[in-house]
Symmetry: C4
Subunit: 227 residues, 4 copies
């Protein structure tokens, strides 16, 4: 996909964030790596989702420096860029403050894997990353280090929100949608008692099947085992 | 209804799942039995709800083998097919991970019948079926065995989600919508105390009346008593 | 307003029930008294909100017998009719199973008046009426007897849902919208502690001002004091 | 911006209140100061959000007296006017009864700053103002006195709802949207345990950065420190 096509894709994918109410005002963003180049496309900072177009997306290098674009890039650009530098397998990154997932993040509590849909997509718990201030490499490093120990494409950054990764931007958006969905269901389950655990062997079986069989083609960014 | 008309109906009914926010991304599906034939129409796997059309629905036999269709059928096809084989009275099956119902499923807890609307549609509690892995007959068997002991057209599969049945696909969709609606209301009621029970004789009176009098014609898939 | 105009008004007002997510599938209805006649206009039973038009509304007498209309009237027609017979000041009735209000109803618990918006619209608590089976005068009588002791235009029928009244159908719809809104806010408040009470004299001051000053004209169906 | 342009802006900004479900029926309003004049533009009282246009907005002086407009102004006009008189830096005021924020208000409990997004926008807790009856200067005085001790552009008026301020009406609307968003997330976090606190120095760092760096230009109404 060319950088031009990718601009249109990234702009359009933000509509999934609003469709699923994952974002309020301008607080959430999608980026995509330009395949084969040291470049990424990302949302401009503080621009309404209604006003996003291919033309106002920002093209940055992987240090977060603007290469093309009239606006300042997302204030989360440094975190996205860090992930692309550290993880060559990642083609898309999404950030949201979706309510239920951010509530787990505010308590610094991982979401336990008690749903088959969670085993499918996340292969286990959705882990919690460190508290980190915006502006340098701390958020990016926290994302990468936390995800390195898990199959989950989503991480809950403490007191902050969600970052997800994917082989494509679309896969990362899917992970953000599913992260909020399971964060809500497990929250609701916990409100009235304790969810029944799923045996680790069953989680493995579900994850392996989903990553290899589901859909018309692979749609997520799986790695076959935690590293 | 011909298989061609049924394709259009099944494609269109998925819009009710998104209208009531019962599904995230592609996680939910509707199927219908082709009347008088050993065939069913079902959603393709991993395709967005926005992109569903009569043309891309999949026609399968009741072993789940594709008879007509360009795409792979829903990964839940085996479960739908099992239900049609075991229950000749069933013309439609729906599967969702709707949030409140799935929260009850995650705790493995049946939803008690404490609302008149629940007595009307479900004739008692919404029961919990077993934990079962996807891929064989275990989910289908769990659905059929659990529903055999209840008037409810909905079952909460443990740690998983909801399956509903109906005399038609539309009736099964209605049951899925009402299942989430009562799952939410009873959840909310329980958060601040205990709901008042409804006497079993009143539940019977409500169920019998609703199944025989409500609406312009029968719209659900009733059986007059549990078996 | 003629019966013809009223049909269009009643059909259109159902869109407010779906806009505020007060109803699932076909479970909720609006009616209006034909001014100066022993007649009412009400929703047909079991018809989708998308399909409501002035033409398919049902005209009934105040015993609930159909005078004009191709379809069966709402299964709640007897309750609406009872209210119009007993309360000549009422011009509109609304029934919903909205989630938060019905959760209070499932516990048989009145909603305490701890919000200024609730004092404005309801003049005090939203009371709970008796459990009653559908089909005769029991629901209607329960509504009328319960509201007789309160300024509230809304009553929570135990284990069932909400009925609201108004001088017009629009006022009754407004009361149904506000009932769910305050049911939700007070529910949320109670989840994490106890709301601060509002002094009865302040509730009276708020109610009197709102019923006499708010808006461009009177929009609710006030009575100046409980009877 | 002329008063004519401001009418269109204020009318249009109400669509953000409905988009984010901050308001039910007609219970919420936006106003803007006419730059350089002792005038404000505000919503008419009791008019549906669907029917708001530049033409039916009301122009008032800063005592709340109508200067131009066919309708009565919002019943909250006195509170808006008080804020403009007391705070020359304020160009926009918003009032809502949004559910989660109003639940905190009903308990008379400030929202603790446990989210980075909350540090960004509010610079600390969202405080609680006094209980005050509508109609005189009590609400306006309560807003101004409470906000004087905080960096937050939002205040929870006890048993009532939210008032927000901004350098522009758009900034005040943003504050109202973000107030409900963080009220919900912190509520959810608290339901299942205790959120992790954020160190005061980190809150300061986040606030300073956001107010000075975020977006294409300053979009909120910051004051660099509490007073």
């Amino acid at each position: 996909m060319s950088a031009a096509d990718l601009r249109a894709t990234v702009a359009a994918l933000h509509a999934e964030l609003t469709r699923y109410s994952l974002v309020a005002w301008t607080a959430g963003n999608v980026s995509a790596r330009v395949p084969g180049e040291e470049l990424m496309v990302i949302k401009p900072s503080g621009v309404s989702y209604d006003e996003l177009t291919a033309a106002n997306m920002i093209l940055c290098d992987l240090d977060g420096t603007v290469v093309e674009g009239e606006f300042a890039p997302s204030s989360d650009t440094a975190a996205h860029a860090y992930v692309y530098r550290a993880r060559p397998d990642v083609g898309g990154v999404v950030h949201t403050h979706s309510s239920y997932a951010s509530a787990w993040a505010a308590r610094g509590e991982a979401i336990p894997c008690v749903l088959t849909a969670m085993a499918d997509e996340f292969g286990g718990e959705i882990p919690v990353g460190p508290f980190a201030l915006i502006g340098g490499d701390d958020i990016g490093r926290g994302i990468v280090q936390t995800l390195a120990g898990h199959r989950s494409p989503a991480v809950l950054m403490r007191n902050h929100g969600v970052f997800t990764i994917g082989r494509t931007a679309r896969a990362a958006v899917k992970a953000a949608v599913m992260c909020e969905d399971v964060a809500r269901t497990v929250h609701l389950a916990r409100q009235l008692g304790e969810p029944v655990p799923i045996a680790p062997a069953d989680i493995d079986a579900l994850y392996d099947r989903y990553q290899n069989v589901y859909g018309q083609r692979l749609v997520a960014a799986p790695r076959s085992s935690p590293r």
